[in-house]
């Protein structure tokens, strides 16, 4: 799990996605794409951004929820807290390398 978080955070586009979700939870794929292109000049395809979201989701940093016919994405910072406590409080360290 921790490995997935580091992998997810290693990519600048994925960090931008998280930056934008901090500003507002509950974004559609359309809003995320719009924000990346207009605010950061990242003109990626929707498919590419979907794949980035899938990586963030598998690391638990983004949670997607279906609400009726819509699909929204929320930020989840809980995996980050585990990472910080791993070094801040070594006695509570994860067993994973």
């Amino acid at each position: 799990m921790a490995e997935d978080v580091f992998k997810a955070l290693a990519d600048p586009t994925r960090r931008r996605i998280l930056d934008e979700l901090v500003e507002r939870d509950g974004q559609t794929l359309f809003e995320i794409c719009t924000r990346l292109v207009t605010k950061h000049g990242l003109g990626l395809s929707r498919q590419a951004i979907s794949q980035h979201l899938a990586v963030l989701e598998s690391a638990g940093l983004v949670l997607s929820r279906r609400q009726g016919r819509y699909k929204f994405h929320d930020l989840n910072t809980e995996p980050l807290e585990r990472i910080t406590t791993r070094w801040l409080r070594p006695d509570a360290a994860e067993s994973a390398p």
Binding site: T28, L29, R35, K39, R69, K71
Partner: protein, 128 residues
């Protein structure tokens, strides 16, 4: 050349006419019976002879999966200009309209995205 007509696929023409006139504020332009369906268009009261919007029946089998996929990803079917997205967002929300994207300022433009209750998302936009 100029844009004369644009269209949205609507699940129910009666319901669509009510939403596009009573809620959004367009005016009915043409209403011609064509068998089961109607040639039903609305226009802006600010430009009654301008571009018409056709409220097109969505009976074709390709339409439903197309609309479903767009709505799931939050992609608007079309976009309308307003004077002030924030004011319009507040007015429409009071009327019970559901937004999938609240007003978002992006440099020179502000946008929001709403559900037209007939299977589509609609973007509203203003430029500074």
């Amino acid at each position: 050349m100029k844009i004369h007509l644009s269209s949205v696929f609507v699940d129910d023409q009666d319901k669509a006419l009510r939403f596009y006139t009573d809620v959004l504020g367009f005016v009915k332009k043409h209403d011609v019976p064509l068998g089961e369906d109607r040639w039903l268009t609305v226009a802006s009261p600010e430009d009654p002879d301008g571009t018409e919007l056709l409220l097109e029946p969505s009976g074709h089998p390709a339409v439903k999966p197309y609309k479903t996929a767009l709505v799931q990803d939050g992609i608007p079917a079309t976009s309308f200009a307003v004077d002030d997205v924030h004011a319009e967002f507040n007015r429409l929300r009071e009327l019970g309209v559901h937004f999938t994207q609240e007003p978002l300022e992006m440099g020179p433009v502000t946008t929001a995205v709403l559900d037209d209750t007939c299977g589509n998302l609609i973007q509203i936009v203003h430029s500074k």
